[in-house]
């Protein structure tokens, strides 16, 4: 009995301690954002790795998701004779929910895990310690450009994903199933509002990017400096970031108002 209570106590303190470490790390990232020199070249390289190399995956996934949505919704809507609603349903569901969440999960798997593994391997091979010995802060040199690149590339990848999925739904709904193209686009454009829908989508993707950037770099820095530790940290990044993205999605949707 006493053991169980003590166990609960130690778990609670380690949870709070972990949260405190993450917050501390986030504060350090924020502070190093404004420090000179600006490390713009490293930021560009990180943007290349997270953003440019994710374009193909995001475009392909977006187009396929759009095609599936077009097919499923068209057949369901046509049971009620409401095929004209396809544009509105596809537009709202993708812009508000599917776009930011799926982009967040895909980028987590594609780029977030790579960043954790990279920083973890640098730690395991004592490169981070080497940097510290040369009086270079690894936070400023390694973590900050990558976290910033993840945060900023997320909204752009999200917009790409959504645009491509509109094209996918168009390809199936209009080209294959024979819905009128004008009806689809008009339904899409009438249903979606900039302030509520596109704004919400942008806010979500920015928050997801920020969460992923923080989690991926923190897990890399905090990983145990050996091969198994890097593997655990990478897995942990994908799991933690995915759960955080899904939870944050609900919170933002609830706060924003449906």
């Amino acid at each position: 009995m006493t053991n169980a209570v003590a166990e609960l106590g130690s778990r609670s303190t380690s949870l709070i301690e972990g949260l405190g470490r993450v917050a501390n790390f986030g504060g350090g990232l924020l502070a190093s954002l404004f420090r000179r020199p600006s490390r713009f070249g490293f930021f560009l390289s990180a943007l290349f790795n997270t953003g440019v190399l994710s374009i193909a995956l995001i475009c392909l996934s977006g187009f396929t998701v759009g095609m599936v949505l077009g097919l499923q919704l068209y057949t369901t809507l046509s049971r009620f004779g409401a095929e004209e609603g396809l544009g509105a349903v596809v537009g709202l569901s993708l812009i508000r929910e599917l776009g930011p969440v799926l982009t967040g999960l895909l980028v987590t798997g594609r780029a977030g895990s790579a960043i954790t593994a990279e920083i973890g391997a640098m730690k395991a091979t004592e490169q981070l310690d080497g940097l510290r010995m040369m009086a270079i802060d690894p936070m400023h040199f390694v973590a900050m450009p990558r976290a910033l690149a993840l945060t900023l590339s997320m909204p752009l990848l999200n917009a790409l994903f959504i645009t491509l999925s509109f094209a996918g739904a168009y390809a199936v709904g209009v080209t294959l199933q024979g819905l009128d193209g004008g009806v689809y686009l008009a339904g899409l454009e009438n249903a979606v509002r900039f302030g509520e829908d596109v704004g919400q989508s942008l806010l979500k993707s920015l928050v997801f990017g920020l969460l992923l950037g923080l989690i991926a770099t923190y897990k890399g820095h905090a990983c145990a400096p050996d091969a198994a530790g890097v593997a655990r940290a990478t897995t942990s990044t994908v799991v933690t970031a995915s759960v955080c993205i899904l939870l944050a999605d609900y919170v933002i949707t609830a706060l924003w108002g449906v």
Partner: protein, 151 residues
């Protein structure tokens, strides 16, 4: 610098198509207006607005020219609706505003029917003639009532 030029090109391309997609979503799909046309606010008072909501379209001859910006209750407990419309329409002062429904189940909108006067409605002025929303419930009720009376 050789390897950097590929990187820079890739990042530039990425930012360009990302911003392009964002601009498409905001301007074309989301209907965001940058600067845009000048707008004036006209007011109209209705006995019953039915299911009219803020941002419902305002149409002249079926063409969208603006939207409902606010709906309030005035001192006499009638619905006071503000309409934000393009400023260069030149709606004559005896134009009328009617609440109509698009399709049987569709959204409600405000249809402006033109009058014949030369004078034009200015910013902040009010429509003299309005026509409230047509309620299917009320129509059916009246129909049943009239049928009962004639029997």
């Amino acid at each position: 610098m050789e390897s950097h030029s590929t990187r820079d090109l890739g990042v530039g391309f990425f930012v360009l198509i990302g911003l392009g997609a964002l601009a498409y979503l905001s301007l074309q799909v989301g209907g965001l207006e940058l600067g845009g046309q000048e707008r004036i606010v006209l007011r109209a008072t209705f006995d019953d607005i039915g299911g009219l909501s803020v941002r419902a379209p305002v149409r002249v001859a079926g063409v969208k020219v603006g939207q409902v910006s606010s709906i309030d209750l005035d001192d006499e407990l009638r619905a006071q609706v503000s309409l934000e419309v393009e400023s260069d329409l030149g709606l004559s002062i005896d134009s009328s505003a009617a609440i109509r429904t698009a399709g049987l189940l569709g959204d409600q909108f405000i249809a402006v029917e033109l009058g014949g006067e030369d004078a034009v409605l200015q910013d902040g002025e009010e429509f003299t003639f309005t026509e409230s929303a047509l309620s299917i419930d009320k129509l059916i009720g009246r129909f049943i009532h009239d049928a009962g009376v004639s029997n």
